[in-house]
């Protein structure tokens, strides 16, 4: 009996960590954009979905090439970054207009992007196989763990480390951190804010788009992906504190594990546990775990 529950525990833990870290990759972009530009982008989930679709079709075109999957991740990320830059440009008049208007405008874009995706690629679901080399599973201590899940965990932690390096050790990172702290001052100091903002939005969009394709082999690609990811991602950002990267990381792990273990307790209502957590956090600490009040 104990061995069964231990195996289940490890499996659920890995499964939860995988889901949580996918959320993290999307939440990262959101937190970055909010932190630096104070813009709330409800369409971030749509960027995630776009990345999955772009990526699928790029992969499909290059199917027989080596490394086609990795190439697709890169190209999909770049394509979505491009879309993100367009969105950022359209959002410029909204910098001064407050979060409510930003929410409304980006909400309109969730409709637009979702229908554009449907128009180009139909309402059907597509499935992407795992890339060669990562299809099977590793057996550790007698437990079979899918290799791809472990890979996702690794990649998102890598992105996390890269981001930390960017922010803490490079000049660009210093500028970004300064802009989070005091945007106007950075502008006064001669940094070209529009370029900085475009860059930050682009990075956020790139990671979201890449995450969309990276997550695709574990499930399927289809319309509705955007709505499914945006609510948990916002929940993660709210729990962690809007604009906080560390908060996003910890919150996404919390959300992922709560969901995974929630399935063991009440399989039907696992989603509900996530909402209970956010409600509790918002009551106890309305600014989130690491947010600024």
């Amino acid at each position: 009996m104990t061995s069964v529950t231990f195996v289940t525990f490890i499996n659920q833990f890995i499964s939860g960590a995988t889901y949580g870290l996918v959320l993290f990759m999307v939440a990262l972009g959101l937190a970055l954009i909010f932190g630096v530009m104070s813009i709330v982008n409800l369409a971030h989930g749509s960027l995630y979905m776009m990345g999955a679709f772009f990526g699928y079709f790029i992969w499909f075109a290059f199917k027989d090439m080596h490394f086609s999957f990795w190439l697709s991740v890169l190209l999909a990320g770049l394509a979505v970054a491009g879309a993100g830059l367009i969105l950022e440009f359209l959002l410029r008049p909204f910098y001064r207009r407050g979060h409510t208007d930003q929410l409304l405008f980006t909400y309109a874009f969730t409709y637009i992007i979702a229908d554009l995706v449907k128009m180009f690629w139909g309402g059907r679901y597509y499935t992407l196989p795992r890339p060669p080399g990562l299809e099977g599973s590793l057996t550790m201590a007698g437990i079979m763990l899918p290799t791809y899940n472990l890979f996702i965990i690794g990649v998102s932690l890598l992105i996390c480390v890269l981001l930390w390096f960017l922010l803490a050790r490079t000049k660009l990172g210093k500028i970004i951190r300064a802009a989070v702290f005091d945007r106007e001052m950075v502008g006064i100091l001669g940094i070209r804010l529009p370029w900085l903002f475009a860059f930050v939005f682009g990075i956020g969009a790139f990671v979201a788009g890449a995450a969309g394709l990276l997550a695709a082999p574990m499930g399927s690609i289809g319309v509705g992906m955007d709505a499914e990811i945006i609510v948990p991602v916002f929940v993660v950002c709210i729990i962690g504190g809007m604009g906080s990267f560390l908060g996003a990381l910890i919150a996404s792990l919390i959300v992922g594990e709560v969901y995974a273990f929630g399935i063991l307790i009440l399989p039907q209502m696992a989603m509900a546990f996530m909402f209970v957590v956010v409600i509790v956090i918002l009551i106890i600490r309305p600014q989130g775990l690491f947010g600024r009040s």
């Binding site: 979060h99 409709y111 916002f234 009551i283």
Partner: protein
């Protein structure tokens, strides 16, 4: 003599507005005898949409709170009526007030938590609660019928015919709209506007902002529930999707496009949404794309919506007239 009647009705100073109202009411009353069945169905959808959007505007236009989860209360009203009628055998006209009480209670519970936060957190929290209710509705198979929802919810035979159901809906929506109008133009409504315009200042003059927001939430939820009760007997069915975030977008689009600062705004928005939806749907599948573009354009260029735009033009006209140009 005109002025006295108007003042006793407390409808405002301009008689032409009253005439528009009376004429539209007259048209609304004759119309079921002139039109074939399907357009009447659309009219019913329009009326229910009006009520839904007006209820939403209590939160948005009047109190300045953006909610993404408003469909939850619409759905609660619908499910309430459906469950009471199907499982407890309660008659329709009794089921509606009971369902509204239940909706009000749940709105009170959820509103209690939501009214403690502002702006963005409010928006996301309402969305979270909306999704929570949606999840409960779709998972609780034995009680709510799960993803299939509840079917065969028929209105009582007195109002079952197409024309009669239309009249019933018309009466309910008109009375509810008048009530909402009175709320907007009451001390309570003005206090909410105060909170909308300047929250910190309202707090500093002693208004209990949290409590007022909470009450606005409950009232708004109850009217949304009423709209839901009408909807379930129009469609004879209710499903969890009527509580989700897609449905929650409907009153939002109606109110923003129609204009959140004008009483008639949500009505205009409901008209555009319902009829536009039908006609656009005849030509293309991509309704969401069209409405997304419309919403984006309105948010960008016409804040205050179409209703706000009309109001501005009228104000400018009045100015030019009065200044004798």
């Amino acid at each position: 003599m005109n002025k006295n009647i108007l003042e006793s009705l407390r409808f405002g100073a301009r008689s032409w507005k009253l005439w528009i109202l009376l004429v539209s009411l007259l048209v609304a009353v004759i119309i079921p005898h002139l039109l074939p069945r399907y357009p009447i169905h659309l009219l019913n959808l329009f009326l229910i949409g009006c009520l839904f959007a007006l209820s939403y505007n209590i939160l948005l236009g009047n109190t300045g709170l953006l909610s993404f989860g408003h469909a939850a209360y619409f759905g609660l009203g619908a499910y309430g009526v459906a469950l009471l009628m199907k499982k407890a055998g309660i008659h329709y006209f009794l089921a509606i007030p009971m369902s509204l009480i239940i909706t009000g209670i749940i709105a009170a519970i959820i509103g209690y938590f939501c009214s403690r936060v502002v702006a963005m957190s409010f928006a996301i929290l309402t969305l979270a609660f909306g999704e929570l209710l949606f999840t409960i509705a779709s998972k609780w198979y034995t009680f709510t019928g799960g993803d299939d929802g509840i079917q065969s919810v028929y209105p009582p035979s007195i109002i079952a015919s197409s024309a009669r159901f239309y009249y019933f809906t018309l009466i309910v929506v008109t009375l509810a709209s008048i009530t909402i109008w009175r709320i907007f133009h009451s001390p309570f409504g003005y206090t909410l506007q105060c909170i909308r315009d300047n929250r910190p200042k309202s707090e500093s003059i002693g208004i209990n902002v949290r409590r007022y927001q909470w009450m606005a939430f409950i009232i708004s939820g109850i009217f949304a529930g009423l709209a839901g009760s009408l909807s379930v007997t129009l469609n004879w069915t209710v499903a969890p999707t009527e509580m989700g975030w897609v449905k929650g977008g409907e009153p939002l689009v109606m109110t923003i496009v129609g204009g959140q600062y004008v009483f008639g705004g949500p009505i205009i928005g409901a008209a555009i949404f319902t009829f536009f939806h039908f006609f656009v749907g005849q030509i293309t599948l991509y309704w969401a794309l069209v409405i997304g573009i419309v919403l984006a354009l309105v948010v960008r260029f016409l804040p205050g919506g179409i209703g706000g735009y009309i109001q501005e033009r009228m104000a400018i006209k009045r100015q030019t007239l009065s200044s004798g140009v």
